[in-house]
Symmetry: C2
Subunit: 169 residues, 2 copies
DNA sequence: AGGAATGTGTACTTTTTTGTCAAGTTTAGC
DNA sequence: GCTAAACTTGACAAAAAAGTACACATTCCT
């Protein structure tokens, strides 16, 4: 449960695009700014491009730019496209059945308690991270911890309005 | 950013110990129950033992047991001992300095915005997960999602009492 | 046209993580 | 004491992730 290299560096590359208000940013520019190799940045951009997060322009005056404004890109979705979900939904019960569930029987079975845990955690984590946008990371550089706490707290309210009531003083 | 095999299986093994109210559980018992090989369970237990989460008794009537009651073992701490933190605090700025910080200069530098993000996220994630104990996982098997939401919401209150006020209806 | 600067895509090498193997140590029971 | 059942440890093999290499395609500029 750690941030993978692809998530970390991918996010950094996207932030470079977000900082360049308009106009395309080239692979060499991003690579130089982040201290990464050009081919590696190309690989990261390929992932982001296939996910529809960035667009590219080929040719001499080419480069990359975001497909949406930085204000609309939440960290939860972005990190999910760069990495993987907390656990693989498919095949989960087959793989972890254990001796008590030899036939792949799983529903409501005690062995699969953890599936509920991971599902809930996954949903909650992505939803909460989506409260923070790329624009936030750029604008509030100095006061990130404070901003984060506010947004995290707000996510609880947003997610379960009928269950809890939250008041920010 | 996904649950590692060691975290998943380690947690499952610990749950087996927690379910066996008193008395030791042997490696073969855990391995059979979870469908894992005995040597692999031994490796996982070794990690847990070195972290002080479980104790072992050698010899013919030996086995493993928890060092603390299941009610006192939070998921955040447990998963942290089984896996790794979200990011490595040490060497972080050296590795990710990029071209704008060639001399290792980092404090308050824009390139290190992400460090604040990961730190805050790490603290918040572990703290929140610690609201859920091993005993919770065993007792509330069927209604885990509801329990989780309550605990997650409560964590916000607990973490920042002066910032937010939370009311559970 | 042609060359230089750019992105695209596949295959490969290196590193890290997973999981196994095998030899050794401890202890209860006979 | 001896054996069987248990834990301990370090080295090893397999799989996945990270990062590189290289040949190729596209476009601008002259």
């Amino acid at each position: 449960m750690k941030i993978t290299a692809q998530e970390e560096y991918g996010l950094r590359c996207v932030l470079r695009l977000a900082k360049a208000e308009s106009g395309a940013v080239t692979l060499p520019e991003v690579a130089a700014a982040e201290g990464l190799s050009v081919p590696y940045v190309a690989k990261l951009m390929s992932v982001l491009r296939n996910a529809g997060m960035v667009d590219s322009v080929r040719g001499r005056a080419g480069g990359y730019h975001l497909t949406r404004p930085a204000e609309e890109i939440g960290l939860g979705s972005l990190l999910l496209t760069l990495g993987e979900p907390l656990f693989e939904e498919t095949e989960y019960c087959q793989k972890h059945a254990g001796s008590e569930a030899p036939n792949g029987v799983c529903k409501n079975h005690s062995t699969c308690t953890l599936k509920s845990l991971w599902q809930t955690l996954e949903h909650w984590l992505r939803h909460t991270l989506d409260q923070i946008t790329l624009a936030d990371l750029i604008q509030h550089e100095g006061r990130l911890p404070e901003l984060l706490r506010e947004r995290l707290a707000a996510a609880v309210l947003d997610d379960e309005p009928q269950l809890v009531t939250l008041t920010v003083k």
